[in-house]
């Protein structure tokens, strides 16, 4: 952790993420009630009124409150989708690499198929068939994001399964499935986890794009939805689209920077030991 703080990029990234987490956690306390409720006159410009510092949107909703509640959605979707994708990918990759043969071949062709379909189109189709809600959006994003972790986990498992402790586990009579999931999988995780920042970032971007097209959870504030809302008054109030966009850019940047910092930090530590 101390080494992490010495990399300036990582520090900036972690700082942005910390602010974001605080925003997400404080949203219900600072802005209680429905953030989609009308709070004032429509299209109030920012910095005009103390109670509504960032002004209001086309329907008179508090932009700052929406921004805070939107952080909750983006963060929740990004983390949940990445966690699901990494869990599913790691298990599938481990099984493929450990079993080998027909099972490996089948699972890897399925992975290929998922990588061949554009991930955004797959998410779009899934949400439009099942219907938009936060859980469905998370599943839709994870549906195409698990392929990267699966490939990395498989490659890692191919070398781990030849090690002595795996042979030892076989000798004491452990079930192959138990060896794969309890002995091999945890050892294959570090390089898979290194992918998490990229997956979280792309999950946040895909969620935003889905919401922008009107396929997000209609009962939640999303930054993508806010940008789409602002788009209808783009000429007169460009501010409404620009602010949530900047929040998105900063969030994704924070995730990348923190992720690169962590990878770099652990690499430095390995190099020294």
């Amino acid at each position: 952790m101390r080494r992490l703080v010495q990399i300036p990029e990582a520090l900036v990234g972690l700082g942005i993420l910390a602010v974001l987490v605080v925003m997400a956690l404080a949203a219900p306390m600072l802005f209680p009630g429905d953030p989609l409720a009308i709070k004032g006159a429509p299209l109030l410009p920012p910095f005009q009124e103390w109670s509504l510092p960032l002004g209001t949107d086309r329907l008179g909703r508090d932009v700052l409150a929406e921004l805070f509640h939107g952080a909750r959605t983006s963060l929740a979707v990004g983390l949940a989708a990445a966690a699901a994708a990494i869990a599913v990918g790691a298990v599938i990759g481990t099984l493929a690499g450990f079993a080998g043969g027909i099972l490996d071949e089948t699972l890897m062709r399925i992975t290929d198929a998922f990588q061949t379909v554009p991930s955004f189109l797959l998410a779009l189709a899934f949400v439009s068939v099942v219907g938009p809600s936060l859980t469905v959006v998370v599943i839709a994003i994870a549906l195409s994001a698990w392929t990267g972790p699966a490939r990395v986990a498989r490659a890692e498992v191919l070398s781990i399964r030849e090690r002595d402790f795996v042979a030892g586990a076989r000798v004491i009579g452990m079930h192959p499935l138990e060896i794969a999931l309890r002995e091999v999988l945890p050892n294959a995780l570090p390089p898979v986890l290194a992918l998490s920042s990229v997956i979280v970032a792309s999950a946040i971007l895909i969620e935003a794009a889905l919401s922008f097209l009107g396929l997000g959870d209609p009962n939640r504030v999303t930054w993508g939805g806010m940008i789409a809302e602002g788009r209808t008054v783009l000429r007169s109030a460009p501010f409404l689209s620009i602010v949530p966009g900047i929040a998105l850019v900063l969030t994704v940047l924070g995730v990348y920077l923190a992720g690169e910092g962590v990878v770099e930090g652990t690499a430095v530590r390995k190099g020294l030991s």
């Binding site: 198929a113 554009p118 991930s119 189109l121 396929l215 689209s241 966009g245 998105l248 850019v249 990348y256």
Partner: protein, 328 residues
């Protein structure tokens, strides 16, 4: 040449399996969608229960799932993707009509991102750790975090609304009567903003890959040997360092094509470019699931073809690829 052909043959066989899995996947999604083709058809016409049964029977919808999958595959073999409910036309015709526009958009975006990205990457990677390297690396990371659809809106505000340099939307001026070069110039003017919005994130990606690859190559022995031979710095940078760092970028060209097709959905919707992406958005808006799945299938085929092309290019660029198969 035989080396490339052998590689191509192996990849083609693999691709057919992959496409079969995609087809089964789209079929399952189609099954999961509420309502079937008869329901969708009756929304616009209306009809009684007897008519519904008769139509289900004549369209083969009353048979088992396995039979329907077989029928679906059989129809696909005849390049029949079914009927679009929203457009009341064969899905294949609707898609083929929109495909060229998306190919032009993607081609231009790829050319922009690959060309400018790798050039800037060479500029940054020529002196790793220098000021220009740091500036370009930081800027590319920031660009990499920008969502394409938001960038599109910002570009519209600045260059279409305020400065009025470029048209706000469309693929070409409607009913302008332009032909030949004038029409091409008109299309190009319309595509400046969409191409930029779609390509910038990949420009940042290629820049970063090129720079990182060059930083690796600089450390290798043959670069010191090239220096010892007294080659000019310019020649070392271009002919030795950059050339060896280029290969991963070519691989990325194939991987990125699927992502770019996905990105074109939002960009084409914003700029009203009548391509495949906008068609996907229209299919969602008009609840035309068969059309949407047809688009997914065509996109998958497109991605497979692009990756085959990239593989062939790779075999020509790197003599090691497939060498073992040719000798076997």
């Amino acid at each position: 040449m035989s080396r490339a052909l052998l590689l191509l043959r192996r990849r083609l066989v693999g691709s057919i399996f992959v496409l079969l899995i995609v087809i089964v996947g789209t079929f399952l999604l189609l099954e999961a969608a509420p309502g079937d083709a008869v329901d969708a058809y009756l929304v616009s016409t209306g009809g009684d229960a007897g008519l519904v049964e008769a139509m289900r029977q004549s369209w083969g919808l009353d048979q088992s799932a396995a039979t329907r999958l077989a029928n679906y595959l059989w129809a696909l073999l005849h390049l029949d993707l079914g009927q679009s409910v929203a457009f009341s036309r064969p899905i294949r015709d609707v898609i083929l009509e929109r495909l060229p526009v998306t190919l032009i958009l993607m081609g231009a975006s790829t050319a922009l991102s690959f060309g400018v990205g790798s050039a800037l990457g060479i500029y940054a990677g020529a002196r790793p750790g220098s000021v220009r390297d740091r500036v370009l690396s930081t800027a590319s990371l920031a660009l990499y975090a920008v969502p394409g659809f938001w960038l599109a809106l910002v570009l519209v505000i600045v260059f279409a609304v305020d400065l009025r340099w470029f048209p706000i939307s469309g693929f070409e001026t409607i009913a302008s009567g332009k032909t030949g070069f004038a029409r091409a110039a008109d299309i190009a003017r319309h595509l400046v903003l969409p191409v930029t919005s779609l390509g910038v994130i990949y420009l940042a990606l290629y820049l970063r890959m090129m720079r990182a690859g060059m930083a690796e190559v600089w450390r290798l022995d043959f670069i010191r040997a090239a220096r010892a031979r007294g080659l000019s710095r310019r020649r070392i940078v271009l002919a030795h360092v950059a050339r060896n760092a280029l290969l991963p970028l070519v691989t990325m060209l194939g991987l990125q094509s699927a992502q770019m097709l996905g990105g074109s959905v939002v960009i084409e919707s914003i700029f009203s470019v009548p391509g495949l992406g906008r068609l996907a958005q229209e299919a969602v808006a008009m609840r035309d699931t068969p059309l949407l799945l047809g688009i997914i299938l065509v996109s998958a085929i497109l991605v497979v073809l692009i990756n085959l092309l990239v593989d062939i290019a790779y075999a020509f660029l790197d003599p090691r690829v497939g060498a073992s198969e040719a000798s076997a």
